[in-house]
Symmetry: C2
Subunit: 631 residues, 2 copies
């Protein structure tokens, strides 16, 4: 018998979740077997909405420019149309991502899934990974026969002409709603909403005098309802409900022809007219709101994306949730395999991501209810757009805000656990600060965007994007006023230099390798450091003002000297946006996937280092900062 080939991971399915996982792990050096049972990437149709938070992520991976090269449609506003005596009329519009959400990209990007898949496929190929097609999984078992590669996986060409057996450390199912792996594990789908729907969806180029054809629209008419979504290449997508399990004659196999859907759309849009120059894609499919009861049984075989959660297409969240599932799992596997985290961190994949899927399904229901009850008044929408937290916010405004946050992707809030510090976290220290008590950052949520000036070349940059998705923790040292903090920075560097600190303990082993030109990971892949000083750029002298430990990251030293409309009176806008004292600064630890882990005061002495060592001791499962670290 031939030797079985070993892989770090076998990934089944090359849709958004599988490709995102593959791309992360390929960049970080893992050996991947990636298969998909389709002969080609998605040719037309399917998912297409990229939310603002996902665009941040794609940019952080250097992939945003390639997405934008396809000239996707951008949705800035959603319009609501309701029936009236003449047919339909617009009752209001709202921003997709109102101003109270602080984002670089206040819009949804619409581009068909196939183009997005190709961007990922090109990327993994640069790192020596490719998708083996059309292959499928036929069996797998975590038999532990090989302690290092415990999972045996049987794969076969879809036509049965070839097969192979491999062993892997991990197996991942990104197979979509019909998951062989999930079924084989006996994981049940729980249906939150007992109502199923049959949807018709059509992409095409139209002629119409309907004025909002380039906007996202929800249209209710006496003839039925439709959702309009603009697309790249002058196309328009229409979603139309063909049947619902609440119908009297409910039949999940009910279908409709393209002509029937077009005729239905014409009736709904009256008094406006519409005709099609070309139809690119048309599909009718039944879908229910379901969620997998577990995402893994053994922390070796995992599920993600549509294999874990299915829901109506209206929320435009499928691909985005898939992306974030993958990134969440990717860095945790990376940290376990690098010795940066105990295996128990893998349990947080399910606990964090399943909660998001639950919220998504809840949101899907709320989204429908919110506007079926009544149309918001202009004053309410304007009120929701204010950034102030007035006590007068009514229930509608609150729900509205929460919905916008959710659809933008910034509403993702992971609960406190070992990696997201909270009041019950095992690491407690007086210098750790919490939301609205010393910082505006919330653990388990994204870092705020902030514009700063890079010291070495005076480039005005987006701080939150400066560290690429490199699998490292992001340690942002907000240095406050250098004249006041120089002692604190010096003390911090001294204590971090202790070989047992989190900062030193994961130092590169091959330390004789030349890393002169290494910007992000000169001393370790465990973390990357940025230092942000409350000083004009021209006054920053890196070698004179920063201890060598931080000066080494010279490309990551920034001047907090750019005015920001959101904090117009601040002298140091980035400090102010993080809710940190502009003079005293503070240290923010951000997880490799961009969510805040812990925030600590910057003070003279060893307290700041102690607090950080405490947090990282829990995260890494090592006793850090002791006389000698216990590894």
């Amino acid at each position: 018998m031939a030797t079985t080939e070993n892989f770090d991971i076998v990934i089944v399915g090359a849709g958004p979740v599988g490709l995102m996982l593959s791309t992360c792990l390929a960049r970080w050096g893992y050996k991947i077997k990636h298969i998909d049972n389709r002969a080609e990437p998605t040719a037309t149709g399917r998912a297409d909405g990229i939310q603002p938070r996902s665009l941040d992520l794609l940019r952080n991976m250097g992939l945003k420019r390639k997405i934008m090269a396809h000239d996707p449609a951008k949705v800035y506003e959603v319009a609501f149309w309701d029936p009236n005596s003449k047919g339909i009329h617009r009752t209001g519009t709202w921003a997709s991502c109102p101003k109270f959400i602080d984002t670089r990209y206040p819009f949804t990007t619409l581009l068909h899934q196939g183009l997005i898949e190709r961007v990922f496929i090109e990327d993994i190929e640069k790192y020596g990974t490719s998708v083996q097609r059309p292959w499928t999984i036929t069996a797998f078992k975590n038999d532990g026969a090989d302690a290092q590669y415990p999972v045996k996986v049987d794969l076969a060409h879809v036509d049965g002409t070839a097969s192979e057996t491999v062993r892997a450390k991990y197996l991942f199912s990104g197979e979509g709603a019909r998951s062989f792996v999930r079924d084989h594990l006996g994981i049940k789908i729980r249906y939150k909403d007992p109502i199923s729907h049959v949807w018709g969806v059509m992409d095409g180029v139209v002629r119409t005098n309907f004025p909002d054809i380039k906007m996202k629209c929800t249209i209710h008419s006496d003839a039925g309802s439709i959702m309009v979504i603009p697309r790249e290449n002058n196309m328009v997508r229409l979603y139309i409900q063909v049947a619902s399990s609440s119908d009297k004659d409910w039949n999940p196999r009910k279908t409709a022809t393209a002509e029937e859907v077009q005729q239905h759309a014409k009736e709904i849009l009256r008094p406006y007219t519409i005709s099609w120059d070309r139809v690119e894609w048309f599909s009718v499919y039944p879908i229910g709101q379901g969620i997998a009861e577990q995402y893994t049984l053994d922390e070796r075989v995992f599920l993600g994306g549509d294999a874990c959660h299915t829901h109506s297409p209206k929320a435009g969240q499928g691909m985005n949730t898939a992306f974030l599932d993958a990134v969440n799992l990717a860095w945790k596997i990376h940290h376990v395999e690098s010795g940066f985290a105990p295996r128990s961190i893998l349990s947080t994949y399910e606990s964090e991501r399943k909660l998001i899927a639950e919220s998504l399904l809840d949101f899907d229901a709320r989204y429908a209810k919110l506007f079926s009850a009544r149309i918001p008044s202009a004053g309410e929408v304007a009120g929701a757009s204010n950034t102030s937290h007035s006590a007068e916010e009514n229930e509608f405004v609150k729900t509205f805000k929460a919905s916008c946050e959710f659809t933008s992707g910034y509403g993702v809030a992971y609960n406190p656990n070992t990696i997201n510090w909270g009041p019950s976290h095992p690491a407690q220290h007086p210098l750790i600060v919490s939301y609205q008590k010393g910082t505006s950052l919330r653990t388990g949520r994204t870092f705020h965007p902030a514009t700063v000036t890079r010291a070495v070349d005076a480039n005005v940059v987006h701080l939150e994007q400066q560290i690429p998705l490199n699998g490292s923790y992001r340690v942002y040292i907000f240095g406050g006023l250098p004249s006041k903090t120089s002692r604190a920075l010096h003390d911090l560097s001294t204590h971090l230099s202790n070989p047992s600190s989190f900062y030193s303990v994961f130092t590169h082993r091959d330390n004789d390798k030349d890393r002169y030109h290494e910007r992000h990971n000169p001393h370790t892949t465990f973390l990357t450091v940025c230092t942000i000083l409350n000083a004009p750029r021209a006054q920053i002298d890196i070698d004179a003002m920063l201890p060598a430990v931080f000066a080494r990251y010279r490309d990551h030293v920034y001047a907090d000297d750019v005015w920001d409309q959101r904090v117009p009176d601040a002298k140091a806008s980035a400090h102010a946006k993080m809710g940190l004292d502009e003079d005293a600064g503070g240290v923010v630890v951000v997880r490799p996937d961009g969510y805040v882990g812990v925030v600590v005061r910057l003070e003279e002495g060893k307290g700041t280092t102690e607090a950080l060592n405490g947090y990282f001791s829990v995260v890494t499962g090592k006793r850090l900062g002791e006389e000698r670290a216990i590894l």
Copy 2:
């Protein structure tokens, strides 16, 4: 004898000027023979600086993203270093493009010429043009033997193995400083500055503790002078003067080895150290400040780029001047060949572009003198960065501002002529307004950037970029407050609809062609229309508020509802930035290359149309707006 093939234009040389010309004309449908005597595009080195104005232009052509995909270096500040007792010290920095210049891109983009050339080459190939290499021009004559294709051009393979003779409407030399075409025409180069220099230039990856290695630096030391320019891929370019014709032992053939230049650089940079990991390119070349006495003799054979003007590399202007030469000529040829302009418009190529070259050479000299006299104080630099026009501006601050404007590319100011309206323009009308008397726009200068909201899809966009470089005049109708201007807009549309108006006279001839999906040129290629209303986007109902003539350009209707830091109190920022009345609006005509042609008040009655017809009568050489236009 075989039939001679006819071309619209023969372009000799595929550097920046030739490629820009080729790209414009290829997109506008011309048949081009493009040759270059090099076997391949530039492999390393040569020009590399893209100024802010050029980046606007590249973006307007849809090429900026491809340039940026190479991750060029960006220069935001220039640092000045002078000798002191320890070697050298920084005496100050200034912004490359200070805040008083209103630009989207306040930096210089550094990328090697070969990568830029390839972006153009890929683009022309999409339009069926390619560069024939390595071929050269051997003879040419405007013999008029064919009235339509008056210029005979002989071409040959550089190794002499093949040759061909073609006929063309135009011949263009983008051959660089050594131009066969220029020599053959007997056009002399006039040397403004009698001093010539020998320059050494080196691109490479270095190790150094010099803190400003990622900035553009001018370094004077007791050991000599050097200029540092950051590059893509972590490279640095050094310019070092090897010899000057003012030296006692001047020898234009003087040279230096790479090692000598490196040794010299080490001495200049003391007390800092520098060493090279790798040298990508090294060259030593003599250059003088010269300008061609003419750019054309017969308005059939033209010169552009370095064939017309040579100067020191320090100003970083060569490629940018070349780009703008090409665009200036391209649209004028296009308008002559389309019947939109008389042949006399071609004379403005030389009159406009030669003046710019003269300014460039003057600037080159001023740039040196400005800082040899003394270093500006911090207060002076700060003063120059203010946007206010205080009476206290001293001579230094004025020169500084002019220099920054010039290097950014926004200092280009074409004098009044037939296309740039002025007080002596043949078209005079009381509704035409001039600089600071009804508008802040100046004819012959670029249109101001302004951010607006597109009505049809609520996208927040850059108004000045919305019309691509399509060879059309850009007619911006600033509609003011719709409640006050509805009559004026209606009257304008009525008079423009007169078949003899500039608006109607060039209507597409094949009017039965389906142009439903044509965004920019639905009714003519002579112009594109944008309408900007002082109203919130949600209140704009295109069909109700605009006459059909303007509503037809529905993708070019914008809401002037985005706040702008430069006009913080304005309700309609774009109107305010143009210096137009926010209620009454105005009409701005911008040339196809982005320079303002004329600004006219928007009033009820036929005056606005009369004023515009007057301007366009001069530009097009036709009697427009009469009972019946005289064509």
